[in-house]
Symmetry: C2
Subunit: 256 residues, 2 copies
């Protein structure tokens, strides 16, 4: 299999909670031989992607990722543009708002703003969202290029919760419904008790490049609240698209 991809996938074992990982641990989790993992880590360390804690000998993300993020942000200031939009969205809806962008085969969370109320949904920063199991993923897929759409539908859909769509038919239904309505809804498909509503952000070619989403406790789901969220999302997503230099799809129309 491809060595470069295997090496880069090692970085996905670092999460919000798992900040440092030991060599043997990483080898075990990834299923790759210890010697190989070490060589990959050393290679990535030479380039600044990871670094080794000199005391614990464990590995963590390196400063190189900060540099690259600055470069990308300088080329297109996604975070700077989306943060105020997310803040407004969280404030207007009183719920947790987050933004994700297509990153490889998945969706990468690149911004979260929580409302001030106590009972709110927590979303891990830097989370990888599966395209088939989240409102954001469905929204993006619904407005992707046909080939990209087919790639997602053709996958083996792993269940994250009991509500995750696992058959092609179920997913296809959710996607086409999202395309019709202009937004996607996911009822506890990724995490129990969490209900998500998402709207796509479009690129210059009229296809989705990411999504804005609002996550609410499932107990608060209800028609009025949902309408209010969708209205807030509509202006937010439109602002995000245009301020990022995108062009909304002609087929994107919101219908409740």
């Amino acid at each position: 299999m491809r060595t470069v991809e295997k090496a880069l996938r090692l970085l996905d074992f670092f999460t919000d909670k798992v900040v440092e990982i030991g060599l043997s641990d990483l080898a075990r989790q990834s299923g790759i031989d210890k010697a190989t993992v070490l060589r990959m880590l050393s290679d990535m360390a030479e380039c600044g992607f990871v670094e080794q804690n000199p005391e614990t000998k464990r590995w963590r993300l390196g400063a190189g990722v900060l540099r690259l993020a600055r470069l990308r942000e300088h080329a297109q200031p996604v975070t700077r543009v989306l943060t105020p939009i997310l803040e407004k969205l969280a404030q207007e809806t009183g719920e947790t708002a987050h933004a994700s962008l297509i990153s490889g085969r998945d969706l990468a969370n690149i911004g979260v703003v929580e409302p001030s109320r106590a009972n709110r949904v927590y979303i891990e920063p830097g989370l990888v969202l599966p395209l088939h199991a989240t409102a954001s993923g469905i929204a993006v897929t619904a407005f992707s290029r046909p080939e990209q759409q087919e790639r997602v539908l053709a996958r083996t859909l792993t269940a994250v919760t009991g509500m995750t769509p696992t058959s092609r038919a179920a997913l296809e239904g959710m996607v086409s419904r999202a395309r019709d309505r202009g937004f996607a809804v996911a009822d506890q498909t990724y995490e129990a008790e969490v209900y998500g509503i998402a709207m796509p952000i479009f690129g210059p070619d009229g296809y989705a490049t990411g999504a804005l989403a609002v996550a609410i406790p499932a107990s608060r789901a209800g028609e009025d609240h949902e309408r209010q969220i969708i209205a807030a999302l509509e202006t937010a997503a439109h602002a995000a698209t245009t301020r990022l230099g995108g062009r909304p799809s002609a087929e994107h129309r919101i219908t409740y």
Copy 2:
């Protein structure tokens, strides 16, 4: 060379100014065969490190780097901590202040704040600074582990300007002088007309992990100005070290 490293080094061809690169161009610049470069880019794209502009077919940095940067920033909020320190430093000195961290074999610029005055030094965001040719690099090297120091001294030192130290002796002199004085000075070693002064940031083990620096037009270099900058740098670097959970080296004492 190792494949993973070769692939990751491709990312270093993206800069402040070069936001997108075509396949043939990247192959030419890196000296790697076109087919190989394409495979590497495809692998990295699968992981979200790069993405292809669907119109121009050219490649750019992907959203995955934003995600990883968020994760690292969440684990240790380097940027958030250093930005206000840099702002104060730039304001106090009236000059461009910047911060860099060790990233692989080099130093990665991760923050710049410019003063309000018109005649100021411009530093590219996300720049890679060679350890031997910048004040920051000298400052870091002077307070690194002996092995690390030796690795830098043993390198083939490429000249960036006519003032860059290219002999081991010259570099050794600058490093030991920096160790004695507690800060490093670089007079147009990296860019003509730019004079840099840098002080190390220390990690928990008492060795340097990065540096804060002030860059001034060479024409403004002078003893009074320099003294003022060093004083501002001293408090700034101390604040950076402690607020990042580091411990200053016992050997770090400022002497003019």
